[in-house]
């Protein structure tokens, strides 16, 4: 089964339209390129029947060491991870996106669909074959693919948590100080950075907050990955970020 978790400090107001969209056809066509779904998935146009949970304080991100979305984990019937937290089929090909129109070159959009299909096929293989699936990762390897967190990163998480608490209780200025500090201490967390941008400007609640600040931060990545490549059998070679970094 699917358990979806939204990292959204603005809570229900931010996610309701995504979880229960009234009109999928009204979404801008570029969303199809970004999501990389096959057409038949769009045609279903149904609202999810699985649990869609709201994580205002990014608790799951902290527990699993996630710094970006979308991220996913496969968990077996015994509550054990069989794939580590990893990007759910996304890649840096999205960095070809035009920052104004959000359009992507056709080859990048196709590449996204190809990667998403490999990922979803692998997921289906695991659902069917369980522990025998070739996509299951042994515990030692799974732990090798995860990482711990440094003193600064632990402190960043505490500041972020205090920031979301204060924001929720109407203390926007004090919240901003702690959210800024979280971003400063953990610059690789796009979750912190992007959430902070949204909380600073209530008009961005529930929006794809692609502000100039976001594009600048993305551009500043240079040849570092935004989505570290997923190590998965059948997945095309990683898109080199620097060849694709035209956003901004």
């Amino acid at each position: 089964m699917v358990v979806a978790v939204a990292f959204d400090s603005a809570g229900e107001a931010a996610v309701r339209d995504f979880v229960r969209p009234t009109d999928l056809a009204a979404l801008p066509p570029v969303i199809r390129d970004i999501m990389g779904w096959e057409e038949k998935l769009w045609e279903r146009a149904g609202t999810p029947t699985y649990p869609c949970l709201i994580d205002r304080d990014h608790v799951v991100a902290e527990l699993y060491g996630m710094v970006n979305v979308p991220s996913s984990v496969w968990i077996d019937e015994n509550g054990r991870m069989v794939r580590p937290p990893e990007s759910a089929g996304s890649s840096d090909n999205f960095r070809t996106m035009d920052p104004v129109t959000f359009s992507m070159p056709a080859d990048a959009a196709e590449d996204g669909k190809r990667r998403r299909k490999v990922y979803v096929d692998a997921l289906r293989d695991w659902i069917e074959n369980g522990a025998k699936s070739r996509h299951v990762v042994a515990e030692a390897e799974l732990l090798r693919r995860t990482r711990g967190f440094s003193d600064d990163e632990a402190l960043a998480a505490a500041h972020f948590r205090l920031g979301t608490y204060l924001h929720r209780h109407g203390k926007a200025e004090a919240a901003k100080r702690h959210l800024d500090e979280a971003v400063r201490l953990r610059p690789d967390s796009w979750n912190f950075r992007r959430q902070e941008i949204v909380l600073r400007d209530p008009a961005l609640t529930g929006q794809f907050a692609a502000t100039p600040e976001y594009w600048e931060a993305l551009q500043a990545l240079g040849d570092r990955y935004y989505y570290p490549p997923v190590e998965m059998e059948g997945m095309p070679d990683p898109v080199h970020p620097n060849q694709r970094a035209t956003g901004g």
Partner: protein
């Protein structure tokens, strides 16, 4: 004085809390309620874990309890465990984060409890016995 503390992601409003600079004094009862830690002869314990009290530790030199033994400095204890401690004095909120370290120590999926759109709380462990595809996303 009252303070809100966030410990292990759980928020508690504590009537006994008395901030004093970088120290946060709590009654032993509130300590247990909010964090699960208890002061015992062998140290400060939670479940099977007991943290021995180093000689001379704490502001009174007697561990993290005060001279009468009725209050406990949670902030001092947390710093001993290398947990980050941050606070906002105006709102009287203290957050105790996870200590830096290795992160995941086994393949066991960390449990959590979160609400859905209707406010119903789901725990990951509610779905034990099923394969779970945990998918994390955001609107932004």
């Amino acid at each position: 004085m009252e303070a809100t503390i966030v410990y292990d992601s759980r928020e508690s409003k504590l009537a006994s809390a008395a901030p004093d600079g970088d120290h946060l004094w709590l009654s032993l009862a509130d300590l247990g309620r909010a964090t699960g830690w208890e002061v015992k002869p062998q140290g400060v314990c939670r479940g099977e874990t007991c943290v021995p009290v180093p000689k001379g530790a704490g502001p009174q030199g007697s561990g993290w309890t005060d001279e009468k033994g009725g209050r406990f400095d949670l902030a001092g204890f947390a710093r001993h465990l290398r947990q980050p401690v941050v606070h906002d004095d105006e709102s009287s909120v203290w957050v105790f984060g996870a200590a830096p370290g290795r992160g995941l120590s086994s393949a066991e999926a960390p449990d959590f409890a979160l609400p859905d759109l209707d406010g119903n709380v789901h725990r990951l462990s509610d779905y034990r016995g099923k394969k779970v595809f945990l998918f994390c996303w955001a609107s932004w």
